[in-house]
Symmetry: C2
Subunit: 466 residues, 2 copies
């Protein structure tokens, strides 16, 4: 199914565009105007002559141009006739933002829509959703105002999110942390398209390097399983399944009316589908951010380099707790470090460059460690609070990262200065605020790689059998 017109349509009709600045139909229409969306935008509203200086049309049927995408923002009770008009106008792709359907007990109205969508073979996102955000095309149907919720920079993570509220928070966190976003879709009640349709589509999208997913339930487990298995061979999928405890399952039922199924069944499906399961939003992004950079480790041995001994110890605990393995530096590396470093430097794992380490000591140590064949993954913990570190470290780390074939991740713990450094470095290197975040990321990377290796093995075995 080609869903690209949801993300980069050439012509758009906003049905229910409004003059009132707090109305959803105003905010969404304004997004297109403010962001100077490259494409034709039509405002549809039978009760207004112009909105934000643009001519309005009483109905989509009055627009002469072809419409690639319609966005319906009206109250629930008039959605059905508007959808009929869209179908009559041969609009294939429709986002229905409107809420007030099965999630509030109005099941009959939603079923009526569902039948019509099926009959007319329409592609519909919604009902009861935030819609789409594409950081490349600037398509933005989010009705959360920008002064309340930031938008992330361009990047290669894509988000698929059942809940609008969770979607808003995810986008907001991504912007705040300087994570790069490719595409976002909140599909709400899945009256038309569901998570699997978008996993399939974004699986084929070259700009998407990893898919993050939030689901409360699945309408079609078999379809989900098949599509995820296929997509996971090419790129990782990380998912939060909300309602993973008995009480949580009950809460899901009352939230979206979805039959959430038992927690154990869902854990099984996700595992079988090769989807990495995260338990919180923090964990979701931590899992995805290292894998999506695409550096594959030659093995599973991790070396820690830091200028803070205590944080180094905490990092060892975090890695060990997850069953991850520490590297043992080669004799040659140890000899070189001993020769070139001041005697107070603690050569081991962690390699503790101690509190007075400067940029040059970091650079020398990292270079040597990356050359070491015993090291597969590098974890750098940088404490920029000490006055011997300068902001030149950003450039140094960037250059090291670009040259390295081995995965590197960075921890910059602390307050406002540390966060500024971390946000800037996130541009180049997956950067975390705590050892536990980085350990989660490394675990995710190794789990994904194991999974890929296993599936290749199985494929090979099958070929040999034939």
């Amino acid at each position: 199914m080609d869903l690209k017109n949801f993300f980069q349509p050439k012509s758009i009709a906003v049905i229910g565009s409004s003059k009132h600045p707090r109305k959803i139909g105003n905010i969404i229409f304004r997004n297109f105007i403010d962001l100077r969306y490259e494409g034709k935008i039509f405002a549809v509203n039978p009760n207004a002559e112009e909105i934000l200086g643009q001519k309005t049309y009483p109905s989509v049927k009055d627009i002469k141009d072809n419409i690639d995408l319609a966005i319906i923002t009206t109250p629930a009770q008039i959605v059905y006739p508007l959808l009929e008009e869209c179908a009559a106008k041969k609009i294939q792709n429709i986002i229905i933002i409107s809420s007030g359907f099965s999630e509030v007990g109005n099941v009959a109205e939603e079923e009526k829509l569902r039948d019509f969508i099926k009959k007319k073979k329409l592609n519909v996102v919604g009902v009861n959703c935030l819609g789409i955000y594409d950081s490349y095309s600037n398509l933005d149907t989010l009705f959360t105002p920008r002064e309340r919720m930031d938008r992330p920079k361009k990047g290669s993570l894509s988000l698929i999110c059942q809940s609008g509220a969770i979607g808003a928070i995810m986008i907001d966190i991504m912007a705040q942390e300087n994570y790069g976003l490719r595409r976002f879709v909140s599909y709400g009640n899945a009256t038309g398209l569901d998570e699997s349709d978008f996993i399939d589509f974004l699986g084929k999208d070259d700009q998407t390097k990893a898919i993050c997913l939030y689901i409360e339930g699945l309408r079609n487990g078999k379809k989900f399983l098949e599509i995820c298995k296929k997509v996971c061979k090419k790129k990782p999928i990380v998912a939060i399944k909300a309602g993973i405890t008995t009480k949580g399952t009950e809460a899901v039922k009352s939230h979206t009316g979805t039959l959430a199924g038992s927690a154990e069944v869902y854990k099984g499906i996700l595992k079988q589908a090769n989807v990495l399961r995260a338990e919180s939003l923090e964990e979701l992004f931590n899992y995805a951010r290292l894998i999506e950079r695409g550096k594959s480790p030659p093995g599973n041995k991790i070396q820690i380099i830091t200028n803070g001994g205590g944080v180094g110890v905490l990092a060892v605990d975090e890695l060990s707790k997850r069953g991850l393995e520490l590297a043992e530096l080669d004799k040659q590396t140890i000899a070189t470090l001993k020769k070139e470093m001041p005697p107070i430097v603690n050569i081991g794992n962690p390699l503790d460059l101690v509190g007075d380490a400067n940029d040059a000591r970091f650079k020398f140590a990292i270079d040597k460690v990356l050359e070491d064949k015993n090291v597969d993954i590098l974890l750098i913990i940088l404490l920029p609070q000490t006055p011997t570190i300068t902001i030149n470290i950003i450039k140094i780390l960037k250059e090291i990262y670009e040259k390295s074939t081995k995965p590197i991740c960075l921890v910059v713990p602390g307050g406002s200065f540390a966060n500024t450094i971390k946000r800037e470095l996130e541009e180049y290197i997956p950067s975390f605020s705590s050892p536990s975040g980085a350990a989660t990321a490394i675990k995710g990377l190794l789990d994904y790689n194991n999974q890929i290796a296993k599936s290749k093995k199985r494929k090979k075995a099958k070929i040999i059998q034939k």
Copy 2:
């Protein structure tokens, strides 16, 4: 032991004060000048006439005034004779910032200091430490410059920290998140005073409502156990023990030379001492921040109120995972809410006020829920991204919190706008960025209360036996 002169001395000598702005002896001396410390400050340096416009003294012996506190910042090799001079001048309290002792293998020099300290009955913080920060008196011996590391506002959490690096990060995080700090001490190698001495002292400090601890090892487990048991009856102690895995234990040994002991032994000691154990810095603060507010729940039933259904479900999962219990609203509360709220509001647990909730809907629902006898603890999850919430919500929540005898905690997830709201509300209500943080906090509160209840029971049983 009275250690108050480490925190609010009337006269201070900075031994090793320096003219060079990047030297530790300059940064520390400058802290006193810049913060206009209320007390006499003397710069000691035999090779300078004046530092930062202040007269210098060749030795502490040349100062006529009594000195309540000396701070030694010189290289390791001259610390011993300087300590002798302090003793000769009858200075009781000394902070030795200097490093280069047992942590780099220079065990003999440190033992020499240790013997002298014992013999002269001196109170010594250090060696190899960051020293003291007191947000009330403005005493600040931290050599991490303020442009690199923020300082927290006044508050009631006190920190005791073996590692200087971890101490710096903790302070930096507290400032960033707007957590209030009472007193901080980094005691490094514990050549003189150790964690137990400060736990004892801060246990008696009325302004300290909770103690956070970072330890790598204990010199005297028995002393620690006795003091913690006593202090924990009055206020909670939350601790991170670094090196809680086998590999981590090895890393501790190489970091501070402390015999870290087996992880299991330490877990046992902390449990016996009634200390809550955290596994990360995030968890440490999350555990401490709700308890320290001092609101005691009448029972263990938790009610969630939110304007984001999905986050409500995640919160249920987080509570359930920790074995925490959800409240069931009383029939009367349900009837009142049904009557007054729009029909789309989902009355249950979570109580989902849905996406278009405004300030007034929040206020009404919270008031009713707090009156409900079935509710012991309230967890509010506020999504301020939606345009129907105004910044007036800050005032509303503040007033509700002040009136309530039941514990309340708040989650404000998201990006920069959400963080601003969260930081402001942290002033009044323990505020978290994710459901998992709040769930940890509630778990900590209930664990602490159970512990207090048990120890009261034991005491009563003993009295009856007598």
